[in-house]
């Protein structure tokens, strides 16, 4: 019986709040106060999420109209027409001239191969000896620039001479040089000093040897050589006609941009500006046809017989390209004829350009394109690789830990795997650059593994490297969720299965794992969500090539470098000015990432609900 209850008019607040349940202040009981506090905390989380979405949408929503306007100016200034002609022609040219030059190199190598290897070996060795004596060289240069008296120069000079002769004696010489030549080369390499200006006698001799063989070889393969040059020069007239049109179109674009930034600038009348370009259409088409016929001529002049097999293969590829190129040229012709410069670019076109555009080109002196396909494929491929590596590992670990491990083992395994989550992602990025890249590269050079697609690889930074590190990051998430799911399968299932005579293995793999499938799948999807959103690791390790990976390599595509949605935001956000088209484009990429994460998480929950075991 508290004294306060006998004096209702002057109750102090303290004992009032500490009163037992049942009493209320302004209708709020203690229990409901606690409830409201917790619900407020929950709503704060929801409000923050909504604010993030609003913030993203606000900055990214303007993108479509900005991009549409930019593409509109791109079309109305005539830049689109120039690109319609130039881009496909350059692509065709690059492909066929590259193949032809390659074929020519093979042909020349059949005659000059050995002399070239000998000369190249000496060139590389000279560079290596100089690199090995570099510290002494820099010391000597430092003394020289300080203009010290002559006595101080003798010591560094001696050091350099000794270092050079040490390097010359110890460096391995490839077998293309005979042992006598190797000896002579070592003697000559030991005389390499900074004061020596004339080249080594051996190098001069090998250069001369190569030069005579090369001239003879080029004379013999003159037809192929001429065909290569003819092919390289075929579009010259077309490019020449395009140069003044480029300038004019770029000028129009500048005027349009000036007008956009301030209303005092004169308004741009596009039909007038387009006139010179439209007038030039006929000339351009004539040049295009001319280019087509010159290509045909050049390729008809290709020799039918070749000395080497590789050259024959390459020339066959070039010949195959010819009909394709004819079709493409016809297609270009049609597009140029139907091109209508004053047809306004629609929002839909801009949206398509963003979602399905194959080029992400920013800060270009010509035109910026914001197409996410290269970034999306990079993100998706890296996530798939990471999942493929992480899923078996984490599920196997979860099954072992929950079903087969003894209690002592559980005490060690669980914390250690979950500790991986504590490793900062930047540290993993360092490991990727410093260790994993070189490890994968040296393993790929083993002759035993040469049959694997894509091996041997030369790039240290590639999608597989990033995928491995991301798999390591995803394993703890997947492991914890899978293990919880396996542990929450009711004991009655296992008991019933064993009562029916199943062995332990059969129970685990035919009863328990299927029963826990919803949780396991949810874990995998959450791991996927984690992996898609990772930035630091992919920025450091994935190679940063903004291009759709070349799927022609088959499975070897995983060893190519790529760029990701997250990486491009991190890389480019430092340089964009607020509110510009580039800024808005990066926010659109952020929105895309947000949507992907939402979808993945929603799928995880849907799976979990659908495959839920009925709780008995």
């Amino acid at each position: 019986m508290s004294p306060a209850s006998q004096q209702p008019s002057s109750r102090p607040l303290g004992p009032l709040l500490l009163r037992k349940k049942g009493s209320s202040l302004f209708g709020i009981t203690r229990a409901s106060l606690v409830r409201r506090f917790f619900s407020a905390m929950a709503s704060v989380a929801i409000i923050v999420l909504v604010l993030i979405m609003v913030f993203l949408l606000r900055d990214g929503a303007g993108f479509l109209s900005t991009y549409r306007a930019s593409l509109d100016v791109y079309r109305k200034s005539g830049m689109e027409l120039c690109d319609l002609l130039e881009q496909p022609v350059r692509e065709m040219q690059d492909k066929s001239t590259s193949l032809l030059r390659h074929a020519l190199a093979h042909e020349l190598a059949t005659l000059t191969g050995e002399a070239k290897q000998r000369r190249d070996a000496v060139v590389v060795l000279i560079g290596k000896v100089q690199a090995m004596s570099a510290p002494e060289r820099t010391a000597l240069e430092a003394v020289l620039t300080a203009s010290s008296p002559l006595e101080l120069l003798t010591d560094p000079r001696d050091q350099l001479r000794q270092a050079t002769s040490r390097a010359a004696m110890s460096i391995p010489i490839p077998s293309v040089l005979s042992s006598g030549e190797a000896e002579q080369l070592r003697r000559e390499l030991a005389t390499l000093t900074p004061e020596r200006t004339e080249p080594l006698p051996m190098l001069t001799a090998l250069e001369a040897e190569f030069a005579t063989q090369d001239t003879a070889a080029r004379a013999q393969f003159a037809p192929l050589s001429a065909a290569v040059i003819a092919c390289e020069q075929a579009p010259a007239a077309l490019y020449e006609t395009l140069v003044p049109l480029h300038k004019h179109a770029r000028n129009t674009k500048e005027l349009a941009q000036k007008r956009l930034s301030s209303r005092d600038q004169p308004e741009v009348h596009f039909p007038d500006q387009l006139k010179p370009i439209l007038d030039a259409r006929e000339t351009l088409l004539t040049r295009l046809d001319d280019y087509g016929s010159r290509l045909k001529q050049a390729q008809a002049a290709l020799p039918a017989e070749t000395r080497s097999e590789e050259a024959a293969e390459l020339l066959a590829q070039v010949r195959e390209l010819l009909p394709e190129q004819a079709v493409q040229t016809a297609g270009i012709r049609e597009k140029v004829l139907e091109w209508d410069g004053m047809h306004t670019v629609s929002m839909f076109h801009a949206a398509l350009g963003f979602c399905f555009g194959p080029h992400w080109i920013t800060n270009s002196p010509w035109q910026d394109f914001y197409g996410v396909v290269p970034l999306l494929t990079g993100s998706v491929l890296i996530s798939v690789i990471a999942l493929l590596i992480a899923t078996p590992l984490s599920i196997a670990a979860a099954v072992y830990t929950s079903q087969f491990a003894s209690d002592r083992e559980k005490e060690y395994i669980k914390p250690v795997i979950e500790f991986i989550q504590a490793i900062p992602s930047i540290v993993l990025g360092f490991i990727g650059i410093a260790l994993l890249g070189d490890l994968i590269k040296s393993v790929s050079h083993w002759p035993l593994l040469a049959w694997l697609p894509g091996f041997p690889i030369e790039e240290r930074l590639n999608m597989f490297n990033a995928g491995c590190l991301l798999a390591l990051m995803a394993v703890p998430t997947m492991f914890s969720l899978a293990e919880d799911a396996l542990n929450s399968v009711p004991q009655s299932y296992a008991a019933a299965s064993e009562a029916l005579g199943a062995t332990k293995l059969q129970t685990v793999f035919r009863v328990i794992v299927p029963a826990a499938l919803s949780g396991i799948l949810a874990g995998i999807l959450l791991g996927l969500g984690r992996v898609i959103g990772e930035t630091m690791v992919v920025l450091l390790v994935a190679g940063n090539r903004i291009a759709i990976p070349d799927f022609g390599d088959g499975l070897g595509v995983v060893f190519q470098p790529a760029h990701t949605l997250t990486g491009i935001i991190a890389q480019e956000l430092g340089e964009v000015s607020r509110g510009s088209g580039h800024w808005q484009a990066l926010f659109m990429v952020g929105i895309l990432l947000f949507i992907i994460s939402l979808v993945v998480n929603w799928c995880a929950r849907a799976f979990a609900r659908r495959l839920e075991t009925p709780k008995s």
Binding site: A105, G127, D438, G574
Partner: protein
Amino acid sequence: MKTSLLLAVAAWACLVSGIQAQQTLRIRGSDTLGAKLVPQLAEQFKLSHGRQLSFDIAAEGSSTAFTNLASDTADIGMSSRRIKAEETRFCESKGIVLREMEIAWDLIVIVVNEDNPVTNLTRQQVRQIFTGEIRDWSELEGKPGRVSAYTRNTSSGAYKDFMSLALGDLEYGTRTQKMAGNEQIAAEVGANVNGVGYVGYAYADAKGVRIVSIDGVLPVPAMVNSYAFSRPTYLYTRGEPAGMVKAFMDYINTPAGDVIVSSCGFVPKSKVR
């Protein structure tokens, strides 16, 4: 006793930090300048000036210099390229006029792996490599292998200067890989036998790489006037520099500053025509 000791230590700390009126000079911008040259100039400047001065240098690419100057998060902007017209317009729209000062000249050096026998490239070949026209080293009389070209990324001044000096304003090839800084490019070219990239002259002596002469001219400071890819670098300030900013920028043009510039692998302005 203990509390009075603690109080004395606390009072001393406050006094000392109060006396050291730290002025911080914030410098943002180019990785080419900001990784070695500007930090060394800052160190020497601090030694010769007894004042308490601290430098806050962050080098994330030349484009970040202008965005930082415009939003007043930097006092000095380092840029390895000239400011663009739209950046000038952007700053003017915020009421800021930037003043430009040319400091040192840089040589953009093409590097290949040390196992690559190619020692000379023509300007046209350089253009063809970085626009993706040349795809295999055998086309350049090297050992057969797919060319892996490493470039800087779009926030870099070297990226844009190289595009205008070497590529004639054509776009880089889509297969090029965009690295964050000179050191990364040098490391990757050193590790990849098919690698080729461009770095500032100060980074050309990295392990495993070899420089290539362009049209027969070796990229050394003595040849800065005839080398194809030499370019000036700049510092930008908001309006006319004053106070410590002016003192620092004047220091760079003194002979002492020239020595540091040369030792970092740049060419002092005084030696360039």
